[in-house]
């Protein structure tokens, strides 16, 4: 018998049962068959018999998206992630394979907010993001700004969205909104947060903001999205819709749903405040290390020759006392070491306890209240653009992109 192909009509015989169905795929040695009722079952291949191969159906017309020329133009740059996910029927897993135009087709209300040009630079799950892609993304956004779009939407997987948003924020000065958006529930389900998040992001991208932001659900309700500053946002829950939180500050604003009315705080940078500039050099030999009790100092050997290292230390910014000589050695060998805190909330202060003072004496740079991830991205950018260690140190201690708060608000 010929090899079965997806879509073949087959007969399934088991015990006294004989049913017809559609062959979907082979998985783990079992044939997956979709019965006429719509149910899939797994069956031993020997119980499956080929009946016929239906004539291929012409693909359903994708439908032309008619755009309103009177509305502002937004660029949608797609990188993949859950917001662009579909079920892959071969593996059964959720795969990222939607183009930006597909997203427009799936959410027709977007057509009332703006018109869109789309551009796909990747189709990956965000754990597969790399600094090289951040640079490509920053360049793509810069190109779009130069063509005069009103705003830019970047669709992105949520896991590492905060890193990418921060990277773009450091590499790019922008006069228009650059909005990162994702979803926590896959787009194939009726309850997906993708539609609301995308509509809110379009409203922000067409609005008055002038910086890089992440726009995601503000609560578990479908009532509003929060606008987060790219360098102060963190994914704080594995699965909830409202997992993105502004850390150490209030969000830059909110978008009400379904009205899509945008309110911005006084602190939000406004449209047109900056001229576009791209500085996309990154020093990729940088790392982020999460310290734990008992972690041997020899771990640091792995980072020998690195240009920069961010440590996510305990409490006010500590590692074990027996790390100090090794850290000093690294710094003497030319590695810039930045201390942040795994508390995530609050500011590093290495002047309170002896260990901290020893670390400062060894040359560790205090990361103020920077989030560890933002500090890593910043270190890559600073070391990519500034060779002089002293000036680099000063830059790290200076707020460049909203990543450091001068004051800790209770």
């Amino acid at each position: 018998m010929e090899r079965l192909e997806t879509g073949d009509l087959v007969r399934y015989t088991n015990g006294g049962t004989a049913l017809t169905g559609t062959y979907i795929a082979e998985r783990d040695g079992m044939a997956v068959v979709k019965l006429e009722s719509g149910y899939n079952i797994g069956a031993s291949p020997e119980k499956i018999e080929f009946v016929e191969r239906p004539a291929p159906q012409p693909p359903a017309g994708a439908g032309v998206v008619v755009q309103n020329p009177d509305l502002p133009e937004l660029a949608v740059i797609s990188t993949g992630g859950t917001i662009a996910s579909r079920v892959d029927y071969r593996s059964g897993a959720v795969m990222s394979q939607f183009s930006a135009s597909d997203i427009l087709r799936a959410i027709p209300e977007l057509g009332d907010v703006a018109r869109y040009r789309d551009r796909q630079i990747a189709s990956i799950l965000s754990e597969n993001m790399k600094p090289a892609l951040w640079r490509e993304l920053a360049r793509a956004v810069y190109d779009e700004i130069r063509t005069g779009v009103t705003g830019v939407i970047v669709t992105h997987g949520t896991d590492t969205m905060a890193y990418s948003a921060a990277a773009v924020r450091f590499m790019l000065k922008t006069p228009v909104p650059i909005v990162f958006v994702g979803s926590q529930r896959s787009a194939d389900r009726p309850s997906s947060d993708n539609a609301m998040n995308t509509l809110c992001s379009a409203a922000v991208a067409a609005g008055d903001l002038g910086e890089v932001a992440v726009v995601m659900h503000a609560t578990t309700n479908d009532d509003r999205c929060a606008i987060h500053r790219a360098t102060r946002v963190r994914k704080m829950h594995t699965s909830r819709r409202d997992s993105f939180q502004s850390m150490g500050m209030e969000p830059l604003g909110y978008v009400d749903y379904p009205s899509l009315s945008v309110t911005l705080s006084d602190e939000a940078v406004r449209r047109g405040a900056q001229e576009p500039e791209l500085h996309d050099a990154l020093e990729e030999r940088c790392a982020l290390l999460h310290f734990y009790p008992g972690m041997p100092a020899s771990v640091l050997d792995v980072f020998e020759g690195y240009a920069g290292l961010v440590i996510s230390g305990t409490g006010l910014g500590h590692v074990a006392t027996d790390w100090v000589p090794k850290v000093r050695e690294m710094i003497e060998d030319g590695t810039t070491v930045v201390m942040t805190s795994q508390c995530l909330h609050g500011r590093v202060c290495d002047r309170v306890y002896n260990t901290g003072r020893d670390l400062l004496a060894a040359g560790v740079v205090e990361g103020e209240d920077m989030l560890p991830e933002a500090a890593l991205v910043k270190l890559m950018w600073v070391l990519g653009n500034e060779r002089d260690p002293e000036r680099a140190k000063t830059l790290i201690e200076t707020d460049l992109a909203g990543e450091i708060r001068r004051r800790s608000i209770p």
Partner: protein, 618 residues
């Protein structure tokens, strides 16, 4: 009606909640809550999505006609899974085992590998917008030659509180769905099959009991009609009536079709704006509406108003379709003038839309968009009348008639649940499943082993109190006493307004043991249960509480006390006793019983009294 001649075919789908410790795809308990216990609420919108085959399911598309906001009540017994904020846990093995047990009892063949699917349901009853469901076994047998097609294990939906508000406590409780072939030929056969499957389900002892825990959907068609699914029949006794009424509806719709064809009826697809005609109307609905739109149904006069089922007309069907657009209903000229619309207005309306005598005019009143949508729906349903009976999913109304819900769902509403791994049903798992004793067999055994009469045995076997009955018998309580207390006594007390449900099983067990141990009389059981119900919720071990109740209702009376009382009463009525002889036993029994107020077993009293009388008379 001659159902054979009409070509009646009916099948049923039975949905039964399982009594597992945890839900099907999360670790929450399977308990229902009162809405007043809710700890919070949230709201969401749902939208239809493209399925695996690239099409939006027609049932889902129908629901999309309304943009609705759904509100959900949450409790401390639900988790992020019910909130649609966390991926599902693996399939609950306990639920799968119960499902396989039922499959084996129905002589079915399990599938080799169970795949969990997502079935699109966007009426708000599932926070995710789909219901997780898995086909577990195929092809089983029923008495009378009917076949079971499939058994599926699925999640229960959230309970609707009102309109667009749902309660999350029920969402995710495991449910089996048993689907029979369309192999029943009479309304009574459908009811019998439903009864039989219900008995099998309860025989497992692992299904939920009580109202709403079992629901039947009934599939009905006649040769000249179409397949219609009637959802949510909760009472077994109504099943045959539902089938009878659906057959009646289909027969009438076929007659209407033939009549329409004979008249060369057609639907005029021009929607006419008649808002201005009703500017001065006395009908509040028409007056306040932004738009009144009219549809002319040529040749439909008299048929839109014709009854097709008790309380239902063809016009009701059109109204159901129109309501999908969010309007309250429709008016049609078969029922006008009425509802504040005058004969003069009707005449003007007919003239304005150029209706001939044989035409029926339907009007809808609402906002412009909704009215337009509703007019469209009326035309769609009127076209369907020209071809007879439409395939539909309907909901049961009180007393067995039904109303339109949505089109029959297609296979397009199913796609794989990728977050749940498949489960292999290997031979070992299937072999290890033990088939429980059927309730019918158990009833027969109770007659044989316990000497219960047939009626009582059946009542006990089918009762929710069966586990308690078996526990009591195992603890040495006489089966008859246990059965009568659990069924007759409790029912009578409940009828008298005693909240027997509040007395715990442990207390009932302790009470029956006290009676068997001679510490309380059988006659005192109603009083003791009443006392226990009154003080239910008070602190104390069951045994201690029962002893306290016995003490309160009447202090223990010794055999010597009984003999003394009996002797005194007989002495006081010596003349009467001598006159009646042993015939005095009955009347004197009453006197003694009254004095002892049920604190002594009647049998003990009657024996003592008999001895005393015999002594006197000898």
């Amino acid at each position: 009606m001659d159902y054979g001649k009409l070509g009646l075919k009916a099948g049923i789908e039975i949905h039964q909640q399982l009594d597992t410790a945890e839900k099907l795809f999360c670790r929450c308990p399977t308990c229902l809550r009162d809405v007043s216990e809710r700890t919070g609420e949230f709201y969401r919108y749902l939208r239809a999505t493209e399925s695996e085959l690239g099409e939006i399911d027609r049932a889902a598309r129908e629901e999309m006609k309304l943009v609705r906001k759904f509100r959900y009540y949450t409790y401390d017994t639900v988790c992020l899974a019910e909130h649609d904020e966390e991926p599902p846990s693996p399939m609950n093995p306990e639920a799968l085992e119960v499902c396989l047990t039922i499959a084996k009892m129905l002589d079915m063949t399990p599938v080799e590998q169970v795949h969990t699917m997502r079935k699109l349901v966007i009426d708000g009853s599932n926070t995710s917008g789909f219901q997780r469901t898995a086909l577990v076994a195929l092809s089983g047998a029923l008495p009378g030659g009917c076949r079971v097609e499939t058994i599926c294990l699925e999640e229960e939906a959230a309970q609707r509180v009102e309109d667009e508000t749902f309660s999350l406590d029920r969402l995710g409780i495991p449910l089996v769905e048993i689907t029979t072939a369309p192999c029943m030929r009479t309304p009574e056969a459908v009811q019998e099959v439903a009864g039989h499957i219900g008995m099998i389900l309860r025989s497992t002892g692992r299904v939920k009991r009580g109202l709403g825990t079992i629901r039947q959907d009934i599939n009905v068609s006649i040769a000249d009609g179409a397949r219609v699914e009637i959802k949510g029949v909760q009472e077994l006794d109504l099943i045959a009536e539902v089938v009878r009424r659906e057959v009646e509806r289909q027969v009438n719709l076929v007659e209407i079709r033939d009549e329409l064809r004979a008249r060369s009826a057609r639907v005029d697809h021009t929607v006419v704006d008649v808002t201005a005609l009703f500017a001065e109307t006395k009908s509040a609905i028409l007056k306040k509406a932004k738009a009144v739109l009219a549809v002319r149904l040529c040749g439909f006069a008299g048929l839109v108003g014709r009854e097709i089922q008790p309380g239902r007309r063809l016009g009701s069907e059109m109204s159901d379709y129109a309501k999908k657009c969010g309007v309250g209903g429709i008016f049609h000229t078969d029922e006008l003038p009425a509802y504040g619309v005058t004969a003069e207005e009707v005449a003007r309306l007919r003239e304005f839309v150029r209706a001939a005598e044989n035409d029926c005019v339907v009007i809808v009143a609402a906002g412009r968009e909704r009215a337009g949508c509703a007019a469209e729906q009326v035309m769609i349903r009127a076209e369907m009348a020209l071809s007879g009976v439409p395939e539909e999913t309907r909901k049961m109304l009180e007393e067995g008639s039904s109303a339109y819900m949505r089109p029959l769902p297609g296979a397009a509403r199913m796609y794989p649940e990728t977050d749940v791994f498949t489960v292999a049903i290997d031979g070992g798992l299937w072999e290890r499943i033990v088939i429980p004793e059927l309730l019918t067999a158990r009833a027969e055994r109770f007659v044989r082993e316990f000497g219960l009469d047939e009626g009582l045995a059946r009542q006990v076997a089918f009762s929710e109190r069966l586990p308690l009955f078996e526990k009591a018998v195992a603890a040495g309580v006489r089966p008859n006493l246990a059965a009568r207390t659990l069924l007759a006594t409790c029912r009578e007390l409940a009828r008298d307004g005693v909240d027997v449900g509040r007395v715990s099983e442990e207390e009932i067990l302790a009470l029956l043991s006290a009676v068997e141990g001679g510490r309380a009389a059988k006659e005192a059981i109603p009083d003791l249960l009443t006392e226990l119900a009154k003080t239910a919720g008070d602190a104390g071990e069951p045994g201690v509480r029962v002893d306290a109740a016995i003490e309160k209702m009447g202090p223990a009376v010794s055999q010597a006390d009984v003999e003394a009382i009996v002797r005194r009463i007989v002495a006081e009525r010596e003349a009467f006793a001598r006159e009646k002889g042993m015939g005095a036993l009955g009347p004197l029994m009453g006197v003694v019983m009254q004095e002892l107020r049920g604190s002594v077993d009647g049998k003990v009293i009657s024996e003592t009294l008999r001895r005393e009388l015999q002594r006197l008379l000898s």
